[in-house]
C-alpha cells in the first residue's frame, strides 16, 4: 500500500472518533432532558453543567477530527 492510500484510510479511521463523540453529545443532552422532564423546576439551574458536559464530549470528537486533518494535510 502506498503512502497516499494509507493516509486516506487512516483519516477515515480517525473519523470514527467523531461518530463516537456524537453518541457522547447525544447522551449528555438526552440525560439532561430525562432529568429536566422529571423536575422541570430544577432544569434551568443546571444549564451550565449541561454545557460543561457538552463541551467535554465535543472536545474529544473535535480532537479526532484534528487528527484526521493532520493525517491528511500535515503528514
Amino acid at each position: 500500500m502506498d503512502l497516499e492510500s494509507a493516509k486516506v484510510i487512516g483519516a477515515g479511521l480517525a473519523a470514527i472518533g467523531v461518530g463516537a463523540a456524537a453518541a457522547g453529545v447525544g447522551t449528555v443532552f438526552g440525560s439532561f432532558l430525562q432529568g429536566a422532564l422529571r423536575n422541570p423546576a430544577a432544569a434551568d439551574g443546571q444549564q451550565g453543567r449541561l454545557f460543561i458536559g457538552f463541551a467535554a464530549a465535543e472536545l474529544l470528537g473535535l480532537i479526532a477530527f484534528a487528527v484526521a486533518m493532520i493525517i491528511l494535510y500535515a503528514v
Partner: protein
C-alpha cells in the same frame, strides 16, 4: 464541458498579506486576518454604541445590548458569586469577540467578487492567545489570593493519604491541559464547520459540471444539506462563544475559591 475545477477546502484559512512588505520573517504585515479583526472590532463598536444611549424606555437595540450584558453578568454571578463582578469585562470581551468573529466568518460576503470572508477564530494563534490570557488570569489570581495554598486545588477534599501523590499529578495534568483544550475546541469547531460547507459546495459544482440528471439531483441535495449545516453552524458559533466564556468563568472560580 468545462475544465475540472479543483477546490481546496483549506484555502479559506490561508493568511495573505494585504499591504506591507511580505518578506519572510517580517512581522509588520497587514494581513487579511488583521483586516477581519478590525472589521469585527468595528461591528462590535457599532453594536455597542447603538445600545449605550441609556434611554429610560429602551428600544430594541438597547434591549439587545442589555440582554448580552445581563446574560454574561448572570453567568458570572452564578458561577463565581459576588466576587466575580471584577472579571465581567474580560469574560464579556471574549464572549462578544468570539461571537462576532464567528458570525462575521459565516456572513455571505463571498457573493461580492474578490471579497473573501475570513474567520478570525479559525486560527490557533488567535484562540490560543485568548486561552493563554484566561489561564494567566487564573494563575495570577490564584497565587495572588492564596499564595502556595493554591496548590491545594490539586488535592480534592477527602482524598485518602496514599492516593495524594497520584491524584496530585492527575489533577495537575488536567489543569495544565485547560488552555490547550479551551483554544483547540473553538478553533477546531470553526475549521470543521467551514470545511464541511466548502466540501459540499464542491459537490454542487461537480454535479452541475457533469450535467446528468442524477448528478444534478445530488447537487440539489447538497445545496439543501449546506443550508441545514449553515443553520447548525449559526448555533455552534453561539455555543462555542458561550462555552469559552463559561469555562473561563469556571476556571476563575477555581482560582477565587479553590474548592
Amino acid at each position: 464541458m468545462a475544465a475540472e475545477i479543483k477546490i481546496d477546502p483549506m484555502h479559506q484559512f490561508q493568511i495573505d498579506p494585504i499591504f506591507g512588505s511580505a518578506a519572510p520573517g517580517d512581522p509588520f504585515v497587514f494581513t487579511n486576518s488583521a483586516l477581519w479583526m478590525l472589521i469585527v472590532l468595528g461591528s462590535i463598536w457599532l453594536f455597542m454604541m447603538g445600545g449605550l444611549k441609556r434611554e429610560l424606555v429602551p428600544g430594541r437595540w438597547q434591549m439587545a445590548v442589555e440582554g448580552i450584558t445581563k446574560f454574561i453578568t448572570d453567568m458570572v454571578d452564578t458561577n463565581i458569586g459576588p466576587d466575580g463582578r471584577r472579571y465581567v469585562p474580560w469574560i464579556f470581551t471574549i464572549f462578544v469577540f468570539i461571537l462576532f468573529s464567528n458570525y462575521m466568518g459565516m456572513m455571505p460576503f463571498g457573493i461580492v467578487p474578490g471579497v473573501h470572508p475570513f474567520t478570525v477564530t479559525s486560527q490557533f494563534t488567535v484562540t490560543g492567545v485568548m486561552a493563554i490570557i484566561s489561564f494567566s488570569i487564573v494563575l495570577i489570581v490564584g497565587f495572588w489570593k492564596h499564595g502556595f495554598h493554591f496548590f491545594s486545588l490539586f488535592v480534592p477534599h477527602g482524598t485518602p493519604k496514599p492516593m495524594i501523590p497520584f491524584i496530585f499529578v492527575v489533577e495537575l495534568l488536567s489543569f495544565m491541559v485547560r488552555p490547550f483544550s479551551l483554544a483547540l475546541r473553538l478553533f477546531v469547531a470553526m475549521i470543521a464547520g467551514h470545511i464541511l460547507v466548502k466540501v459540499f459546495a464542491y459537490f454542487i459544482i461537480q454535479g452541475l459540471q457533469s450535467g446528468t440528471a442524477m448528478s444534478i439531483g445530488i447537487s440539489i441535495l447538497s445545496f439543501v444539506f449546506i443550508v441545514a449545516v449553515n443553520v447548525l453552524e449559526l448555533l455552534v458559533a453561539a455555543i462555542q462563544a458561550y462555552v469559552f466564556a463559561l469555562l473561563t468563568s469556571l476556571y476563575i472560580n477555581d482560582a477565587e475559591h479553590l474548592h
